[in-house]
Every structure is written in structure tokens, then in C-alpha cells.
């Protein structure tokens, strides 16, 4: 295949003495959905924060196709086409649902304004199933609807790379199926995605390949089946006695 959409090279981030991401390298191919998994506190969110520019890496390099984005500011990385959701949902509470989504397509990778932006946002709200909530004040939306809204906002940028941080967490079983279907559709359309997730069903159904982190270190990288049967991964998740 051609150049990967994202290549992370020997990336390290330390907070004071704590090394949250330790010398990690991996690649995401174009159109691929990569799962980033690992126990709590293993550094997954930090990794997404490094890619999206929320944090600056201590050492290492990140390339988005041929662009070096290692030390770029978050807003520049967004303009290159990286969009994300947050582990703890961050909607814009004083704006309406429609305005929340419009916010995603004005300043970033896509720069629309006026009718165009409005139409795009409306279409995306339909797509994530929020059609009837276009004018609802966002702080009265349910948790899943807030998550849908955040996804619609990220999609509004036509991202080249989409980062999802536990987007499926906290959904009930029927919502989960809808959610998985939505992500599956995105993948089929060719969006490159990194998905941090704990929901094993979703990982099995969706991921083309998986990277497993534990205590900041990459302990496995490969196809979903290989990775999930790797003894070291099982040990990281379940503790020593199960290996």
C-alpha cells in the first residue's frame, strides 16, 4: 500500500517522573480502523492527546502522511485533518446542537460558512440520529445523545484521521449496536480511525488491527485475534495468575 496516514515513531511522554507513553511506534494505514487498547491508566488517552496536539511529546515523532505534526499546536493539527472525541464528553453547552456541529466545519480541515455549513451540520445530525434534536439546548440532551453530538462535530471536519476515545463506553446494549453500526459505516466509507475502546465485542467486530498498551509500553501490535490471544496481553488485562 501507499504511505500510512499516521506513523508514530518512538514516541515518549513523561509527566514529571511518570512515563505515560514510553517509546511507542506504530502505523495506521489509509482507511484502516486501528484499535488502541489496554488497561486503565496505560496511556491510551495520553497517546490520543499527543496525536491531536493537546500535549507536546517529550521525544519522538508523529507524521500525518508526509507532514511532520510532532510539535504543532492543536489547532494546526486539526486543520491538517485530525478530529477527535473526548473520553469525558465535551459538548459546548451554551450552543444548540446544530451550532455544536457547525463549530466542527468552520475553522478546521473543512472551512464552510453560511448555508453550506448549516446544511452539512443538519445532514450529520440526521446521520447520527439526532434529527429531532436540532434545536434542543445541548445540556438537556441524554448522555448518548451528547456522545452522538460530539461524533457529529468531529465528522463535520471531514477528518483524514478520526480519534475516538472510549466513544462506546456507557451505552446500553441497544445503543451499543447502533453505535457499532455507525462506526462500521464510517470505516466502510474509508475514514481512517483510531479507536480507544474497552468493549471487546466492538473491537472484534470493527478493528482491522490493534495496538495494546500497558503502563505506557506497547506490548502487542497485530491482527485482533493474534493480539487478544497473546499471553502477555492476557496477563496485562487479568493479572499474572491467568497467564
Amino acid at each position: 500500500m501507499t504511505q500510512p496516514i499516521l506513523s508514530v515513531n518512538k514516541l515518549t511522554k513523561n509527566f514529571g517522573g511518570l512515563i505515560a507513553v514510553n517509546d511507542i511506534s506504530f502505523q495506521v494505514k489509509k482507511g484502516e480502523l486501528m484499535g488502541l487498547i489496554g488497561p486503565n491508566g496505560s496511556g491510551k488517552t495520553t497517546m490520543l492527546n499527543l496525536i491531536s496536539g493537546a500535549f507536546k511529546p517529550s521525544t519522538g515523532q508523529i507524521n500525518l502522511e508526509s507532514t511532520d505534526i510532532t510539535n504543532q499546536a492543536a489547532h494546526m493539527i486539526a486543520r491538517h485533518g485530525v478530529a477527535r472525541t473526548f473520553q469525558l464528553v465535551r459538548i459546548l453547552p451554551s450552543l444548540t446542537a446544530l451550532q455544536n456541529v457547525i463549530a466542527g466545519c468552520v475553522y478546521g480541515h473543512v472551512k464552510l460558512w453560511g448555508e453550506d455549513a448549516q446544511q452539512k451540520a443538519e445532514a450529520l445530525l440526521h446521520r447520527v440520529g439526532l434529527a429531532e434534536h436540532i434545536n434542543t439546548p445541548t445540556d438537556s440532551l441524554t448522555y448518548i445523545d451528547q456522545k452522538r453530538l460530539e461524533l457529529a462535530r468531529a465528522l463535520a471536519a471531514n477528518p483524514r484521521l478520526l480519534l475516538l476515545d472510549e466513544w462506546l463506553a456507557g451505552l446500553n446494549p441497544s445503543e451499543l449496536n447502533i453505535g457499532i453500526q455507525l462506526i462500521s459505516d464510517l470505516r466502510d466509507e474509508g475514514t481512517s480511525i483510531i479507536m480507544v475502546e474497552h468493549v471487546m465485542d466492538a473491537i472484534r467486530q470493527l478493528c482491522d488491527h490493534c495496538v495494546v498498551m500497558s503502563s505506557g509500553i506497547k506490548i502487542a501490535d497485530g491482527s485482533v485475534d493474534d493480539v487478544l490471544s497473546d499471553p502477555e496481553v492476557i496477563r496485562a488485562y487479568l493479572g499474572d495468575e491467568h497467564a
Binding site: H75, A78, L92, T96, L98, Q99, I102, V106
Partner: protein
């Protein structure tokens, strides 16, 4: 609610009507000097001056929640631009220069401080006004041997009034344009969540600095327009820190969520401060203090917030009565 979504609709009929009413209102107000040239004109000058100052202040501080006490600095700079240049440079040019100098200084301050948070920004802006005042005082006493500058012009109070009224129109139009622009929308997003704003591709630093510059430039022009009214300009009168505090009070008591919010604070408080100044000159400080307390403990969203809560209660209770 649907009104909220029309951030880029065409100018609606309703907006056209409001614009027409405003134009008529301004025209009527502009005739005031024909009827009175004494007390009412003088207090109206103050009211319009504070309307411009507070609206300009709110352009920046409303969405960002940064409390700026730099008003006295920008105002004083504007005043001094006129005081220094009036003998040699045409007055209209001086107004433009005042805007450029204050806006430029706002840009430098913004560049340096907007990464500082809350309280540091407040004291920085207060310190800046004081620093400039001290330096101007020192330069004057040591190099010009006087404590102030004379501003002799043909500009009378009614001309000051008309200029301020014109500037008010400009400020409202600028504010309205900003609210409809990408910049205004970006400021709304930043006010909600700065981290999200960055991840949506907004250069938050530049956005804030731009708005601070626009706000500072307008305040500078107010200072310039007021200069002829001083006739003798001294550092304590031009860089009067009380102006900074009064602007914060009036704007917050009015409410900063809408362009016309500050108006609700300016009119009562200009009159109140004026009356207190006449009848209880020693109690100004206590009035300012009580006003700050009222903002925090009674009217956290200003009169505007109060009106909107009442309106909401009213509409929701009428809805209950009407089950359709």
C-alpha cells in the same frame, strides 16, 4: 429557540425593523443639545461615553470571562494622543492615531498575557494602567516641567456628545458584525470550552488578541474624543483607575451575553454615580464596593440575566396553562 441557530441567515425583516427603530432613536437622541446644554447634556455625555466603553469592554470580556482593568490605560492613551498632538495634527487624524496606538498596545499586552489565567490577567491590566500613569507623570514633571497639557479646541460639549453618539453607532454595528462572523462564533466556542476550540482548529490566542485589540482601539478613541472636554489633561485624570472599575461594574450589572446588555447597567449607574458624586462625594468608594457585591451575590448574570429568567418563567408557566 430557532432564532439561536440563525447565526448566518440573511438580515431578517425583524432585524431590519429593529435597525430602523434604532436609527430613529439615535436621531431623536442626537437632537438633545438643541434643548439643553447644561446638566442633561453633560450627564448624557457621560452615559453615552460609558455605553461605548462598556460595550467595547464586553466585546472581549463577555465571551472570554477575562476581567480587564486596562480601560483606564487605553482611555488615557487616547486622551494623551490628542493632548500631545492637537497643536500640530488635524483632530480627525488624532482620533485614528488614538485607535491605532491603543489597539497596538492592546495587541502587545494580549500577546504577552493571554496565556496567563484569571487573576494574573486582572492585576496585570491594573498594573499596566498604573505603570503608564506613573511614567507619564514622571516624564512630564522631569522633561516638560508641568503637571499637565492644555487642550484648546473649538470642540464644545455638544460636539463631544455627537461624536460619542456616532461612535456608539459604530460600536453596535461592529459588535453585531462580529457576532455574525467566524470570529464571534469562535469567541462563543472559546467561552464554552477552550480545549475543544483548539481541537476544532481555532487559533484561540489570535482570536482573543484580535478582539482585545478591537476593544482597546475603541476605548482609546473614547479617550481621544473626551480630551477636549478636559481642557487641561493630567495623568491622574486621564489614567483614572476608577473608570476601569466602573466599566466592569456597569457592564457586568447590565449583562454581557447580549450586545445591548451593558446598556441596562450604564444608564442607572451613570446617574447613580453622578448623584453620589454630587451629594455624597466621600461615599463613592462604598457605592462601588456595594455594586461589586451586588454583582456577585445578587445578579451574577446582570439585569439581562434577570430579565431572561423572568421571561423564561413567564413563557413556561403560560405553556402549562395552555395544553396545546
Amino acid at each position: 429557540m430557532s432564532r439561536l441557530n440563525k447565526i448566518f441567515s440573511q438580515i431578517s425583516k425583524q432585524e431590519k425593523r429593529i435597525a430602523l427603530y434604532c436609527a430613529i432613536a439615535f436621531a431623536i437622541i442626537a437632537t438633545l443639545p438643541l434643548f439643553d446644554q447644561g446638566f442633561y447634556l453633560s450627564i448624557s455625555v457621560n452615559i453615552v461615553m460609558y455605553i461605548v466603553l462598556c460595550t467595547a469592554w464586553s466585546l472581549f470580556s463577555g465571551p472570554t470571562h477575562y476581567i480587564s482593568l486596562a480601560t483606564a490605560a487605553f482611555y488615557g492613551i487616547g486622551t494623551y494622543v490628542v493632548a500631545i498632538g492637537i497643536k500640530d495634527i488635524p483632530y480627525p487624524v488624532l482620533l485614528v492615531m488614538a485607535a491605532i496606538v491603543s489597539g497596538g498596545i492592546a495587541g502587545i499586552v494580549g500577546l504577552a498575557t493571554l496565556r496567563l489565567s484569571g487573576v494574573y490577567f486582572v492585576v496585570f491590566t491594573l498594573g499596566l494602567s498604573e505603570l503608564i500613569r506613573q511614567i507619564v507623570t514622571w516624564v512630564q514633571t522631569n522633561f516638560s516641567g508641568s503637571s499637565g497639557l492644555y487642550v484648546f479646541t473649538d470642540i464644545r460639549e455638544m460636539h463631544v456628545f455627537w461624536q460619542l453618539l456616532g461612535l456608539a453607532v459604530i460600536v453596535y454595528i461592529v459588535g453585531w458584525l462580529i457576532n455574525r462572523s467566524r470570529l464571534g462564533f469562535a469567541m462563543q466556542i472559546i467561552g464554552n470550552d477552550e480545549t475543544v476550540a483548539k481541537h476544532l482548529g481555532i487559533n484561540t490566542a489570535i482570536s482573543k488578541i484580535l478582539l482585545f485589540m478591537i476593544s482597546g482601539a475603541i476605548i482609546g478613541v473614547v479617550g481621544a474624543i473626551m480630551a477636549p472636554r478636559f481642557s487641561y489633561v493630567t495623568p491622574p485624570s486621564a489614567f483614572n483607575p476608577i473608570i476601569s472599575f466602573q466599566v466592569v461594574i456597569m457592564a457586568l450589572l447590565g449583562g454581557t451575553k447580549r450586545l445591548w446588555g451593558p446598556l441596562l447597567g450604564v444608564i442607572p449607574f451613570t446617574i447613580l454615580f453622578d448623584q453620589v458624586g454630587v451629594y455624597f462625594p466621600d461615599q463613592t468608594s462604598i457605592v462601588i464596593g456595594v455594586a461589586f457585591m451586588a454583582i456577585v451575590y445578587l445578579l451574577p448574570n446582570g439585569v439581562l440575566g434577570l430579565i431572561e429568567t423572568i421571561k423564561q418563567k413567564f413563557t413556561s408557566s403560560t405553556k402549562k396553562e395552555d395544553p396545546t
